[in-house]
Symmetry: C2
Subunit: 241 residues, 2 copies
Amino acid sequence: METAAKQTEKICFDTFRQMALLSMEEICREIFHENQQSIKIKKEPVAIRNLVNIFHTTLKLSNEKGFHTMSLRDLSSASGLSMGALYSYFSSKDELLEMIQKQGRRIVGKVLFDHVSPEDSSLKKMRTLIRVHLYLTEVMQPWFYFAYMETKNLDKIQRKRSIESELFTEQVFHDVLLEGQKEGVYKAIDSTLTAGVIKALLQDWYVKRWKYSRRHISVEAYAEFVISFVESAILAKAPVA
Amino acid sequence: METAAKQTEKICFDTFRQMALLSMEEICREIFHENQQSIKIKKEPVAIRNLVNIFHTTLKLSNEKGFHTMSLRDLSSASGLSMGALYSYFSSKDELLEMIQKQGRRIVGKVLFDHVSPEDSSLKKMRTLIRVHLYLTEVMQPWFYFAYMETKNLDKIQRKRSIESELFTEQVFHDVLLEGQKEGVYKAIDSTLTAGVIKALLQDWYVKRWKYSRRHISVEAYAEFVISFVESAILAKAPVA
DNA sequence: GTCTATATCTGGATAGAC
DNA sequence: GTCTATCCAGATATAGAC
């Protein structure tokens, strides 16, 4: 009974995947138009195709051995673009790093909060937030991992932005927790620490992806586990079915 | 009443700190004697003083901007040792990386499992494991963070060792969970995922240290929070006081 | 727009003075 | 034992042909 309702309402991972892929190209188009001063290419289709290629390849190589260790020669041969061609899309290796970070933050912003409607119960909000967050990080795993590992290599201002965005996500969970506590759905435990703990569990999914792959655990399974684990810990009474 | 018993039994963070600091010098002495083929220095006191300095400075710089980004010239000026002097303690930058990883793994092995006795109840074992793990990572925060972030830069064999040690820690938690489930103390939920979740919470302490510092949360406070959070989620009945 | 060839710079590593 | 000076590989970045 409850299951039926759940299935119709519960956000589905597959539709999610397509959405994010669509976003990817769109974002590249935006980046292209915004950075036309540093991008020397004029034709949009060419530019976008190559940008997608460059970002994709950079993420792949960096996540194997780190952005700093990846030389532009590596990137050149792996992407099939020459050194010269690369430099018509960015003016320095650091700029490339910044472009990727910016692109990622933007997708997150676009996708993450479209799925929670304010009229939902705090219980439902929380569940949806957890699922959406996990599904998003699954679809964009390479980017999240990259952003996570390469923060140190950013300059101060970019670094600050990255920290802000981390704390902002945590804040969203924090707010829902407070709301639920007011309603009496959740226990009155430290909401800041709890929000941090939830964030840590979500992060583990994309940071330790190798572990979960090896153990053949799907995102959906992990999502349901996290939800039930967290709810066991914070619900005022026994979890609803 | 329970509080009094708890305080006498509960492992104390301050004594813990001293123990780890002592270990540090001892370990450097061991390293010195083992690597006398690559270390050109003969006098023990000099060697140890400089080794401690080198490790300490390397951790500091690397944790700011990454090991790869830290040049040996940076290390030289920050430690006060010349390039030449540095090279009488290791034969390559990679060897320095390996020495630090090895040193760290050794301290962990020395300290981590001395505190759980097999005759304890699984409940007590779990609590002690959580505390000891957190206290240890607190005392050795720079090293743990370093080991965590620089795994990518290791060669295959070292990398494998690092992964093994990660999975081993998780296994310890896993075993205690199973034991507790058999005794009926813990619920019969997925023990692998649960162990992973606990590990993630412990890791958050040293990976996101900046966050907890900023919020003025002490290790002890975090430890107690994690324990109560985890127990709320996994205890078969309501937690004991 | 894309390539090849090349200039320039950075940083790991070593030799030899003190 | 420690320092300075230097070598050289490898990386970023650019110029100019096609």
